[in-house]
Symmetry: C2
């Protein structure tokens, strides 16, 4: 978040990279890889309540890449950018000898008084999440919708106390919001919106995570997690259903003044000691 | 170059990546790699006459990286950024399974009426270059000075017609300036400032390029190449020597109204058919 001297506005500057073998494989269509690279940055701008404006694209192409690859990558990049009014204004193409890497740098803007951050949550706030959680690796991670419009709508109409995009699992990202807000939290197990993919993966293999754990700890959901004052919770939910009838919004718990993340289920309350996706052990 | 609504100013947005096996090897100290990654972006901001302000750093670390590597990379990144008043305000760390990659995104600003571009050169303009050319691979490519102060000084005091940073060799980059300006050019062979490194490399091996060709076609010089009206040439050179006594500035030729790049030497004039460094064959 950059104060650049624009009256009443701040600039947002963000970079995000996707790497072959980490965020996608050579099995994925280049167009889908390009779309994912752009959408990940858009999702981060969304989590600030911002409007993305310009992007630069760094393509690092593997040795012996197919001549059609750059065009297909750009079809995905351009499609996602155009859908959200973003101009790709530059970048570069270089080599990454043994694998494809795309880094997107994005510029956006946000009214200074509507810039959403992780901090600002308070005890008793209701915690909401958009969409369904878990099992993203079955397909959603390559084809998700950045919640740009939803986040701006929230910031325009409600006093949002803390926001983060769920990229490393609610059990991980909620901790970031808690830490920035100086709060603990309680989640209600029966309220967690478990995706069909997470349930299907659990049925398909006894080695898979139980669906609830998948929903709390799988990465790459690209949903919005946010806190609002408890008085706003019901009006917000009602207004949301009218405005975004196709996007599920769920109150999954509340912030508390006790440290730590608790999970409430039929057996009672227990500390949730799992975390989200860990980038480096 | 982005018109963001700042009165009298434009934003500059730039990304640049360095890749192991392309821009450096595992033999280079991580601190030097970090410095190079930052300085390359700074050199591009310089070529626009701009002032860099903020940077984001994407570190893509190889599998099994040494735990001291991120800190050493950042020592180089921070050192170069601090030297030029740039704040590193974010970025990310991810994996690049088989090699280190660093991408830097940089934000800067430039007064709208002093934004240097490749276009604007005119026939009869004098063509100048800073520093010495060629042989950068012997060491300079890891440790060069972005010409930020010099470029701003030029833009403040003279009507600069076209500017580019020499990263792919004068024979390549001058063609970009020519194309953007709709001009041809003539270079005087005896005026080309050939670096000691280029001469040394030529002496060391009969396989090496002749020094003049190295100076014209080697990559990674990171010097400024620019055109000014011929009446400004002598006053500019005089003022430069006073202001930057330690940085060589050389008039290497002129722009012309005939297409193509000519080289003038004792044997006469001939079309220079060599180009600079080619990124992809």
């Amino acid at each position: 978040v950059i104060e650049a001297g624009l009256p009443g506005e701040r600039l947002l500057l963000k970079t995000d990279a996707v790497v072959e073998g980490v965020h996608f494989t050579s099995e994925h269509a280049p167009e889908a890889v390009g779309r994912k690279a752009m959408n990940r940055c858009l999702s981060d701008i969304a989590a600030m309540g911002g409007t993305p404006t310009h992007a630069l694209v760094t393509l690092a192409l593997p040795a012996g890449f197919d001549a059609s690859m750059p065009g297909e990558l750009y079809r995905g990049l351009n499609g996602a950018a155009a859908r959200h009014g973003v101009a790709i204004v530059g970048g570069e193409t270089t080599s990454n000898p043994r694998g494809l890497l795309i880094s997107v740098a994005m510029l956006g803007r946000v009214p200074s008084d509507r810039c959403l951050t992780r901090g600002g949550g308070r005890a008793e706030d209701a915690v909401f999440v958009t969409g369904d959680l878990g099992g993203s690796m079955a397909g959603k991670h390559m084809n998700f919708e950045p919640r740009l419009e939803e986040a701006r709508w929230l910031g325009d109409r409600f006093e949002i106390h803390g926001t983060i995009d769920v990229s490393d699992g609610v059990a991980g990202d909620l901790r970031h919001l808690m830490a920035a807000s100086g709060c603990g939290a309680e989640l209600r197990a029966e309220s967690i919106p478990i995706s069909r993919a997470a349930r299907r993966l659990a049925r398909a293999s006894s080695q898979a995570k139980p669906p609830l754990m998948a929903a709390l700890t799988d990465g790459e959901d690209y949903e919005l997690l946010f806190a609002v004052g408890k008085r706003d919770a019901v009006p917000l939910l009602d207004a949301w259903k009218t405005r975004f009838p196709d996007v599920r919004l769920t109150c999954i718990g509340r912030l508390t003044d006790r440290p730590g993340l608790m999970l409430l289920d039929r057996e009672g309350a227990r500390m949730l000691d799992v975390h989200g996706y860990t980038h480096f052990e």
